[in-house]
């Protein structure tokens, strides 16, 4: 396993432990809440007659309304450790405990006048002498100018006051560890993408990490930067949008990593499902988040299972992380499980990425080896025994029989060696240099073979560059495999053509008895040319060879 996992795993353990052995709670029972429009100071009293109070009321403006909720405390509180309460209600309000005002959040009834004040969630301490075992009443005097339709008491959270104050920040501090990790991962993978813009999976991964970072911030920043209830919905909408994007991107990422058939169709269907989930339950962020992450897990699981079935690299480990994410989701609270699950999926992605990076490194190393091999092959061209020793034998003969010609031969040979020296380190050379190389080779071969060789060219764009010695290799093949025409000559012609789609070089050999045997098809010469073309143009080239009436034709096309 990869050592990169260790910090993440330990982080996960801390998190699970922290949430498992959570704060000590107190036992209490919460009764049904009743409400009434209007505003009377006496409505806070503990023993008020509630017969004309209703379970539900309609509110259309910023008027004040009251709510009363009975709470029965089942434990006797520890001495010197006060209780506290967080009412889960919208609006600006005052809280009364057994008729005593214990706190204020904003200015109920005067919101427009005084402007938004207070925060979404606020903890109130309960005086110790009022917090005994038994039944109590929480009365809340509130107004909801900005969301009058959100009237109601959604819950009364009762706990030790210090627990209520520290619970949020503690959870946030744990969760923000994830946020930091996600932000770093996002930046790292963005840099990776910027250095290689073809790797879209890296970009997707970076975006996923960044979105999860944003999601984490949006979810937890409220414990240190409280918000007014007015902007609560904006925050929830933002959370939903982020979750929607994440739910789309994670399976997209897996689709790129573990390709499967009919990808486009399935992704479109999946996007449809996500949008349906999003629009149907758009009033409850919790459910949307849960459903979308469920859909995301199911689809991702499907893709990964296919990957395992096809024995793709890394698929098995990712397959292990996905069900564990679901298990954690079953065992812990939703938000913890969401991040734990996502972290596990992230771990899976990290693993897949590390595998891909390894593959790329190997491919790169291979390409280096290949380049070196090609360079060697180029250097070898002039010292391979067939060329060198035959040339030397001919040279000896010229020197013995016609010394002056012998000198010219040596000069021609020197010229070719010189040209080879100039190009042996290059991966691309000007076409003019390549043509010069071919001509000097023909000069040498004339001395050796005593055949008249002719070189012609047409439409050459002098600005173009080509991999070294590819035409030289075709020329060598042409010389080796063909017999001269009746006038003891062999002609070679290089034609360059260019259009919107590609550039092409046509290399023609005009000769007799050009052989088409297997040695021509698979010769080391052609292998060299193909390897050079791949090195310089990846897959954007083609090489065709065919015999013609007058000899042989090679066409190299380089696509734009």
């Amino acid at each position: 396993m990869n050592h990169k996992f260790i910090p993440f795993l330990s982080l996960l353990c801390i998190l699970v432990l922290a949430s498992a052995c959570a704060e000590d709670r107190i036992a209490y029972k919460q009764g049904k809440s009743v409400m009434k429009l209007g505003d009377e100071p006496g409505w806070s009293a503990q023993d008020l007659d509630e017969h004309d109070w209703e379970r539900r009321i309609e509110l259309t403006d910023g008027r004040v309304y009251w709510s009363r909720t009975k709470v029965e405390i089942l434990d006797t509180p520890e001495s010197l450790r006060p209780f506290g309460v967080i009412p889960h209600v919208y609006g600006e309000y005052e809280v009364f405990w057994d008729g005593v005002l214990i706190g204020k959040n904003g200015n109920p009834g005067r919101e427009l006048e005084l402007g938004p004040e207070g925060k979404m969630w606020k903890a109130f301490g309960i005086p110790s002498h009022l917090a005994g075992k038994g039944e109590h009443v929480i009365a809340i005097r509130s107004s909801l100018y900005y969301f009058p339709d959100h009237v109601g008491v959604f819950g009364i959270e009762l706990n030790y006051y210090d627990n209520l104050l520290t619970k949020g920040p503690i959870r946030t501090s744990f969760m923000h560890i994830f946020a930091g990790a996600l932000l770093l991962a996002s930046i790292y993978f963005l840099f990776l993408f910027l250095s290689n813009k073809k790797e879209y999976t890296t970009l997707i991964f970076s975006i996923i990490c960044f979105l999860l970072f944003v999601h984490n911030l949006l979810e937890f920043f409220i414990s240190y930067a409280p918000i007014h209830y007015k902007v609560h919905h904006t925050r929830l909408n933002a959370l939903e949008m982020v979750m929607l994007s994440v739910s789309f991107l994670v399976p997209l990422y897996f689709s790129k990593q573990f390709p499967y058939p009919r990808q486009k169709v399935l992704l479109v269907v999946y996007t449809g499902v996500l949008l349906l989930l999003y629009s149907f339950k758009s009033d409850n962020t919790f459910i949307i988040t849960r459903d979308m992450s469920f859909a995301m897990s199911v689809f991702s699981l499907g893709i990964v299972v296919f990957g395992v079935y096809k024995k793709m690299k890394g698929a098995r480990l990712v397959l292990l992380t996905l069900p564990s994410a679901v298990l954690i989701g079953l065992a812990t609270s939703f938000m913890v499980s969401l991040y734990a699950g996502i972290s596990l999926i992230l771990l899976g992605m990290f693993y897949v990425h590390s595998l891909r990076i390894k593959e790329q490194r190997l491919a790169y190393e291979n390409s280096l080896v290949q380049s070196t091999r090609l360079k060697l092959e180029l250097v070898k061209k002039n010292i391979q025994p067939h060329f060198l020793l035959n040339t030397l034998t001919s040279l000896v003969d010229w020197v013995e029989e016609a010394p002056k010609k012998g000198v010219m031969f040596i000069e021609a040979l020197a010229k070719e060696f010189d040209l080879f020296n100039q190009i042996e380190d290059q991966t691309m050379i000007p076409i003019t240099q390549e043509i010069e190389l071919c001509k000097s080779h023909l000069e040498i071969m004339e001395y050796r073979k005593e055949i008249s060789y002719f070189w012609e060219e047409e439409g050459i764009d002098l600005e173009q560059k080509v991999p070294p010695a590819i035409f030289h290799t075709l020329l060598e093949n042409g010389i080796t495999h063909s017999l001269p025409l009746d006038d003891n000559s062999i002609r070679f012609k290089l034609v360059h053509e260019s259009n919107d789609e590609y550039r092409s070089y046509t290399f023609l050999t005009f000769a007799l008895g050009v052989r088409q045997g297997k040695s021509r098809e698979e010769g080391t010469g052609l292998k060299y040319i193909k390897a050079r073309l791949t090195e310089s143009y990846q897959s954007k080239w083609s090489l065709d060879s065919e015999s013609t009436e007058h000899g042989w034709k090679n066409v190299i096309k380089i696509y734009h």
Partner: protein, 231 residues
């Protein structure tokens, strides 16, 4: 002397030609130069030759097919090639000499001398190429027990009891085969490790009894030498 030069480098071929003429002078009856594989094969089939000088890399084609055809012929083969690393294989196939390029007249003379002086080949032959009706196949030399001269040809008797006919004369094979073989008789060349004992028959006839029971006559004049050398 009838000599064929198979070489696709015109200048090199001319050099071999010139030197060969120099070396043999009036003894040269015919000298032909061919630069393609097909023509060479056809020429070998239809002409009587004494020596073939062969380049193993003709027009980029593998010359070993031609080499097999050449060494199965009745003539001796001398390879003239730039690839020294092919020398061992060439000798194993049964060429008389391997002249590496670049060469001079002395080296070529030395090669030709082997033919004239009937000197043995330097390296061990591993295979004998035998022509059958449709193809040429290689017999490992270690399978050969003895050869019997049959006019211009040689009958090869193999360890598995079969018999093959080789186009080369017994004299030429004697030159190629290693010292493991001994010319015990005008018509016989025997692998000495296959000989179990020498039987002296009545009328001072000497026979070499092979391990498989076959008896091969030993020439009266050669008996002494063989006995001194092997027993």
């Amino acid at each position: 002397m009838n000599i064929l030069i198979v070489e696709d480098e015109s200048r090199v071929a001319k050099r071999i030609e010139r030197m060969t003429r120099d070396i043999f002078g009036k003894d040269l009856q015919s000298l032909t130069h061919i630069n393609t594989l097909e023509e060479a094969l056809a020429f070998i089939e239809s002409h009587s030759l004494d020596v073939v000088l062969l380049d193993l890399n003709l027009n980029g084609e593998d010359g070993f097919d031609l080499l097999k055809a050449a060494v199965s012929g009745s003539f001796h083969t001398i390879v003239v090639s730039a690839y020294k690393d092919q020398a061992i294989t060439a000798f194993e196939y049964g060429v008389l000499d391997f002249v590496p390029k670049p060469f001079n007249q002395d080296r070529l003379t030395q090669a030709f001398d082997r033919i004239v002086s009937k000197e043995r080949a330097e390296k061990e032959v591993k295979y004998l190429a035998v022509k059958t009706r449709h193809r040429i196949h290689l017999i490992p030399v270690e399978d050969v027990l003895y050869g019997k001269g049959a006019g211009a040809y040689t009958e090869l008797f193999l360890a598995d009891g079969t018999k093959e006919l080789h186009d080369k004369s017994l004299e030429k094979l004697e030159q190629l085969l290693s010292n493991a073989f001994e010319r015990v008789h005008k018509s016989y060349l025997v692998r000495m490790s296959a000989v179990k004992e020498i039987i002296v028959a009545s009328g001072s006839k000497y026979m070499a009894a092979l391990k498989n029971g076959v008896q091969i006559p030993i020439g009266r004049t050669r008996y002494k030498d063989i006995k001194a050398k092997w027993f």
